[in-house]
Symmetry: C2
Subunit: 147 residues, 2 copies
Protein backbone atom coordinates (compact mmCIF):
# COMPACT_ATOMS: atom_id res chain seq x y z
CA UNK A 1 0.00 0.00 0.00
CA UNK A 2 1.64 3.17 -1.17
CA UNK A 3 0.46 6.06 0.98
CA UNK A 4 2.35 8.62 -1.07
CA UNK A 5 0.61 7.63 -4.27
CA UNK A 6 -2.79 7.81 -2.63
CA UNK A 7 -1.94 11.23 -1.20
CA UNK A 8 -1.01 12.40 -4.68
CA UNK A 9 -4.30 11.21 -6.11
CA UNK A 10 -6.19 13.15 -3.46
CA UNK A 11 -4.01 16.25 -3.90
CA UNK A 12 -4.58 16.24 -7.63
CA UNK A 13 -8.28 15.69 -7.25
CA UNK A 14 -8.58 18.61 -4.84
CA UNK A 15 -6.54 20.85 -7.08
CA UNK A 16 -8.44 19.80 -10.20
CA UNK A 17 -11.78 20.62 -8.62
CA UNK A 18 -10.68 24.24 -8.43
CA UNK A 19 -12.19 25.13 -5.08
CA UNK A 20 -11.27 22.33 -2.75
CA UNK A 21 -8.48 22.88 -0.25
CA UNK A 22 -5.83 20.51 0.98
CA UNK A 23 -6.53 20.36 4.70
CA UNK A 24 -4.69 18.17 7.21
CA UNK A 25 -8.01 16.58 8.22
CA UNK A 26 -8.60 15.25 4.72
CA UNK A 27 -5.21 13.57 4.59
CA UNK A 28 -5.61 12.25 8.11
CA UNK A 29 -8.90 10.63 7.09
CA UNK A 30 -7.31 9.21 3.95
CA UNK A 31 -4.57 7.69 6.10
CA UNK A 32 -7.10 6.16 8.44
CA UNK A 33 -8.90 4.68 5.44
CA UNK A 34 -5.68 3.26 4.02
CA UNK A 35 -4.95 1.60 7.34
CA UNK A 36 -8.37 -0.03 7.40
CA UNK A 37 -9.11 -3.66 6.62
CA UNK A 38 -12.34 -4.70 4.92
CA UNK A 39 -15.56 -2.78 5.31
CA UNK A 40 -16.20 -0.06 7.84
CA UNK A 41 -18.78 2.61 8.52
CA UNK A 42 -18.28 6.33 9.05
CA UNK A 43 -18.90 6.06 12.78
CA UNK A 44 -16.24 3.43 13.44
CA UNK A 45 -13.68 5.24 11.30
CA UNK A 46 -14.41 8.35 13.35
CA UNK A 47 -13.96 6.52 16.64
CA UNK A 48 -10.79 4.84 15.49
CA UNK A 49 -9.32 8.24 14.66
CA UNK A 50 -10.40 9.80 17.95
CA UNK A 51 -8.97 6.84 19.83
CA UNK A 52 -5.69 7.26 18.01
CA UNK A 53 -5.55 10.87 19.09
CA UNK A 54 -6.43 12.37 15.70
CA UNK A 55 -8.80 15.30 16.06
CA UNK A 56 -11.68 15.32 13.59
CA UNK A 57 -15.42 15.80 13.65
CA UNK A 58 -17.97 13.37 12.33
CA UNK A 59 -19.16 15.95 9.83
CA UNK A 60 -15.70 16.14 8.32
CA UNK A 61 -15.45 12.37 8.16
CA UNK A 62 -18.68 12.14 6.18
CA UNK A 63 -17.68 15.02 3.95
CA UNK A 64 -14.25 13.62 3.25
CA UNK A 65 -15.46 10.08 2.58
CA UNK A 66 -17.62 11.63 -0.12
CA UNK A 67 -14.58 13.31 -1.66
CA UNK A 68 -12.52 10.12 -1.45
CA UNK A 69 -15.31 8.33 -3.24
CA UNK A 70 -15.28 10.97 -5.97
CA UNK A 71 -11.61 10.34 -6.70
CA UNK A 72 -11.95 6.57 -6.54
CA UNK A 73 -9.98 6.03 -3.35
CA UNK A 74 -12.99 4.72 -1.50
CA UNK A 75 -16.07 2.69 -2.45
CA UNK A 76 -19.39 3.11 -0.73
CA UNK A 77 -21.95 0.35 -0.34
CA UNK A 78 -25.29 -0.13 1.24
CA UNK A 79 -25.96 -3.70 2.25
CA UNK A 80 -29.00 -4.82 4.18
CA UNK A 81 -28.69 -2.53 7.21
CA UNK A 82 -29.38 1.13 7.67
CA UNK A 83 -25.74 2.17 7.59
CA UNK A 84 -23.49 2.95 4.65
CA UNK A 85 -20.35 0.84 4.48
CA UNK A 86 -17.11 1.96 2.95
CA UNK A 87 -13.90 0.27 1.92
CA UNK A 88 -10.64 1.49 0.51
CA UNK A 89 -10.52 1.13 -3.25
CA UNK A 90 -6.90 2.10 -3.79
CA UNK A 91 -4.74 -0.71 -5.11
CA UNK A 92 -7.59 -3.18 -5.16
CA UNK A 93 -9.25 -4.89 -8.11
CA UNK A 94 -12.89 -4.18 -8.84
CA UNK A 95 -14.93 -6.79 -7.04
CA UNK A 96 -18.39 -7.64 -5.84
CA UNK A 97 -20.04 -9.01 -2.72
CA UNK A 98 -21.91 -11.99 -1.38
CA UNK A 99 -23.63 -11.09 1.87
CA UNK A 100 -24.62 -13.81 4.32
CA UNK A 101 -28.03 -12.95 5.71
CA UNK A 102 -27.38 -15.22 8.67
CA UNK A 103 -23.98 -14.16 10.04
CA UNK A 104 -23.48 -10.92 8.13
CA UNK A 105 -20.24 -12.14 6.63
CA UNK A 106 -19.22 -10.48 3.39
CA UNK A 107 -17.44 -12.53 0.74
CA UNK A 108 -15.73 -10.69 -2.08
CA UNK A 109 -15.47 -12.09 -5.56
CA UNK A 110 -14.03 -11.02 -8.86
CA UNK A 111 -15.41 -12.11 -12.21
CA UNK A 112 -14.18 -10.76 -15.50
CA UNK A 113 -16.89 -12.45 -17.51
CA UNK A 114 -19.63 -10.57 -15.68
CA UNK A 115 -17.70 -7.36 -16.10
CA UNK A 116 -17.61 -7.88 -19.85
CA UNK A 117 -21.27 -8.80 -20.18
CA UNK A 118 -22.26 -5.74 -18.21
CA UNK A 119 -20.30 -3.60 -20.61
CA UNK A 120 -22.08 -5.20 -23.55
CA UNK A 121 -25.47 -4.62 -21.98
CA UNK A 122 -24.63 -0.96 -21.42
CA UNK A 123 -23.34 -0.45 -24.95
CA UNK A 124 -26.59 -1.88 -26.24
CA UNK A 125 -28.52 0.79 -24.35
CA UNK A 126 -25.98 3.58 -24.93
CA UNK A 127 -25.53 3.81 -21.20
CA UNK A 128 -22.22 5.28 -20.07
CA UNK A 129 -21.04 3.33 -17.02
CA UNK A 130 -19.49 5.03 -14.05
CA UNK A 131 -19.58 2.28 -11.46
CA UNK A 132 -21.26 -1.07 -10.95
CA UNK A 133 -22.30 -3.02 -7.90
CA UNK A 134 -23.35 -6.64 -7.61
CA UNK A 135 -24.77 -7.89 -4.36
CA UNK A 136 -25.70 -11.49 -3.82
CA UNK A 137 -27.68 -12.16 -0.65
CA UNK A 138 -27.96 -15.65 0.78
CA UNK A 139 -26.32 -18.07 3.17
CA UNK A 140 -22.58 -18.68 3.38
CA UNK A 141 -21.05 -22.15 3.49
CA UNK A 142 -20.27 -21.94 7.21
CA UNK A 143 -23.87 -21.15 8.07
CA UNK A 144 -25.22 -23.80 5.73
CA UNK A 145 -23.20 -26.44 7.62
CA UNK A 146 -24.15 -25.53 11.17
CA UNK A 147 -27.72 -24.32 11.56
Amino acid sequence: MDFQEAHDILTNHLKASGKHRATPERFAILDAVLQSQGHFDAESLYYRMITNGVKVSKATVYNTLEILQDCGLVSKYRFAENTSRYEKAFGRPHHHHMICLNCGDIIEFVNDKIERIQEEACNEKNFKVQSTTIQIFGTCSKCTKRP
Copy 2:
Protein backbone atom coordinates in the same frame (compact mmCIF):
# COMPACT_ATOMS: atom_id res chain seq x y z
CA MET B 1 -51.95 -9.02 -13.50
CA ASP B 2 -53.89 -11.62 -11.56
CA PHE B 3 -54.90 -10.16 -8.19
CA GLN B 4 -56.43 -13.40 -7.03
CA GLU B 5 -53.22 -15.34 -7.54
CA ALA B 6 -51.21 -12.74 -5.65
CA HIS B 7 -53.71 -12.82 -2.81
CA ASP B 8 -53.33 -16.56 -2.64
CA ILE B 9 -49.58 -16.31 -2.42
CA LEU B 10 -49.88 -13.90 0.48
CA THR B 11 -52.55 -15.99 2.20
CA ASN B 12 -50.41 -19.08 1.98
CA HIS B 13 -47.33 -17.27 3.17
CA LEU B 14 -49.17 -15.91 6.19
CA LYS B 15 -50.64 -19.29 7.01
CA ALA B 16 -47.30 -21.06 6.54
CA SER B 17 -45.55 -18.73 8.95
CA GLY B 18 -47.79 -20.07 11.68
CA LYS B 19 -48.41 -16.85 13.58
CA HIS B 20 -49.21 -14.24 10.97
CA ARG B 21 -52.81 -13.19 10.54
CA ALA B 22 -54.69 -12.32 7.40
CA THR B 23 -55.74 -8.73 8.03
CA PRO B 24 -57.63 -6.50 5.60
CA GLU B 25 -54.80 -3.93 5.78
CA ARG B 26 -52.29 -6.43 4.43
CA PHE B 27 -54.42 -7.23 1.43
CA ALA B 28 -55.22 -3.57 0.87
CA ILE B 29 -51.50 -2.83 0.75
CA LEU B 30 -50.90 -5.74 -1.61
CA ASP B 31 -53.60 -4.35 -3.90
CA ALA B 32 -52.02 -0.90 -3.85
CA VAL B 33 -48.69 -2.49 -4.75
CA LEU B 34 -50.19 -4.47 -7.61
CA GLN B 35 -51.73 -1.29 -9.00
CA SER B 36 -48.36 0.49 -8.91
CA GLN B 37 -46.16 1.13 -11.92
CA GLY B 38 -42.37 1.07 -11.64
CA HIS B 39 -40.56 1.96 -8.45
CA PHE B 40 -42.09 3.63 -5.44
CA ASP B 41 -41.19 4.35 -1.85
CA ALA B 42 -43.12 3.52 1.33
CA GLU B 43 -44.20 7.12 1.82
CA SER B 44 -45.77 7.55 -1.61
CA LEU B 45 -47.54 4.22 -1.40
CA TYR B 46 -48.92 5.35 1.95
CA TYR B 47 -50.15 8.66 0.55
CA ARG B 48 -51.67 7.03 -2.48
CA MET B 49 -53.68 4.74 -0.22
CA ILE B 50 -54.79 7.57 2.06
CA THR B 51 -55.79 9.64 -0.96
CA ASN B 52 -57.83 6.74 -2.28
CA GLY B 53 -59.68 6.56 1.00
CA VAL B 54 -57.96 3.42 2.29
CA LYS B 55 -57.19 3.67 5.99
CA VAL B 56 -53.71 2.50 6.98
CA SER B 57 -50.82 3.75 9.06
CA LYS B 58 -47.28 4.20 7.86
CA ALA B 59 -46.07 1.63 10.35
CA THR B 60 -48.32 -0.98 8.82
CA VAL B 61 -47.17 -0.08 5.33
CA TYR B 62 -43.52 -0.64 6.29
CA ASN B 63 -44.34 -3.80 8.14
CA THR B 64 -46.39 -5.23 5.28
CA LEU B 65 -43.86 -4.33 2.59
CA GLU B 66 -41.41 -6.43 4.58
CA ILE B 67 -43.82 -9.37 4.53
CA LEU B 68 -44.51 -8.96 0.82
CA GLN B 69 -40.78 -9.01 0.25
CA ASP B 70 -40.51 -12.24 2.22
CA CYS B 71 -42.97 -13.97 -0.05
CA GLY B 72 -41.46 -12.58 -3.23
CA LEU B 73 -44.33 -10.31 -4.18
CA VAL B 74 -42.22 -7.20 -3.78
CA SER B 75 -38.55 -6.35 -4.35
CA LYS B 76 -36.73 -3.77 -2.30
CA TYR B 77 -33.83 -1.69 -3.58
CA ARG B 78 -31.62 1.04 -2.34
CA PHE B 79 -30.32 3.27 -5.08
CA ALA B 80 -28.31 6.41 -4.48
CA GLU B 81 -30.68 8.28 -2.18
CA ASN B 82 -31.58 7.78 1.42
CA THR B 83 -34.90 6.13 0.71
CA SER B 84 -35.70 2.49 0.03
CA ARG B 85 -37.47 1.88 -3.24
CA TYR B 86 -39.85 -0.98 -3.87
CA GLU B 87 -41.45 -2.53 -6.92
CA LYS B 88 -43.93 -5.30 -7.45
CA ALA B 89 -42.23 -8.55 -8.30
CA PHE B 90 -45.31 -10.59 -9.09
CA GLY B 91 -45.51 -11.71 -12.71
CA ARG B 92 -42.26 -10.01 -13.62
CA PRO B 93 -38.97 -11.55 -14.73
CA HIS B 94 -35.90 -11.12 -12.55
CA HIS B 95 -34.09 -8.04 -13.77
CA HIS B 96 -31.48 -5.48 -12.85
CA HIS B 97 -31.04 -1.73 -12.98
CA MET B 98 -29.04 0.98 -14.67
CA ILE B 99 -29.41 4.22 -12.73
CA CYS B 100 -28.71 7.53 -14.43
CA LEU B 101 -26.84 9.74 -11.99
CA ASN B 102 -27.89 12.79 -13.98
CA CYS B 103 -31.65 12.50 -14.42
CA GLY B 104 -32.37 9.69 -11.97
CA ASP B 105 -33.94 7.55 -14.65
CA ILE B 106 -33.92 3.82 -13.99
CA ILE B 107 -33.47 1.43 -16.90
CA GLU B 108 -34.27 -2.22 -16.35
CA PHE B 109 -32.42 -4.99 -18.08
CA VAL B 110 -32.51 -8.76 -18.14
CA ASN B 111 -29.49 -10.92 -18.86
CA ASP B 112 -29.52 -14.67 -18.56
CA LYS B 113 -25.80 -15.02 -19.06
CA ILE B 114 -25.05 -12.96 -15.97
CA GLU B 115 -27.58 -14.94 -14.03
CA ARG B 116 -25.80 -18.15 -14.93
CA ILE B 117 -22.33 -16.84 -14.14
CA GLN B 118 -23.50 -15.63 -10.77
CA GLU B 119 -24.78 -19.08 -10.00
CA GLU B 120 -21.43 -20.60 -10.93
CA ALA B 121 -19.56 -18.13 -8.74
CA CYS B 122 -21.82 -19.00 -5.81
CA ASN B 123 -21.47 -22.73 -6.31
CA GLU B 124 -17.72 -22.30 -6.25
CA LYS B 125 -17.94 -20.72 -2.83
CA ASN B 126 -20.76 -22.94 -1.56
CA PHE B 127 -22.89 -19.86 -1.14
CA LYS B 128 -26.64 -20.47 -1.18
CA VAL B 129 -28.26 -17.64 -3.12
CA GLN B 130 -31.46 -16.06 -1.98
CA SER B 131 -31.55 -12.91 -4.10
CA THR B 132 -29.22 -10.90 -6.28
CA THR B 133 -29.02 -7.25 -7.24
CA ILE B 134 -26.98 -5.59 -9.94
CA GLN B 135 -26.83 -1.83 -10.07
CA ILE B 136 -25.02 0.03 -12.79
CA PHE B 137 -24.57 3.74 -12.16
CA GLY B 138 -23.73 6.12 -14.98
CA THR B 139 -25.28 8.35 -17.60
CA CYS B 140 -28.23 7.37 -19.78
CA SER B 141 -28.27 7.93 -23.53
CA LYS B 142 -30.65 10.89 -23.29
CA CYS B 143 -28.36 12.72 -20.88
CA THR B 144 -25.26 11.89 -22.91
CA LYS B 145 -26.79 13.59 -25.95
CA ARG B 146 -27.93 16.82 -24.33
CA PRO B 147 -25.56 18.11 -21.66
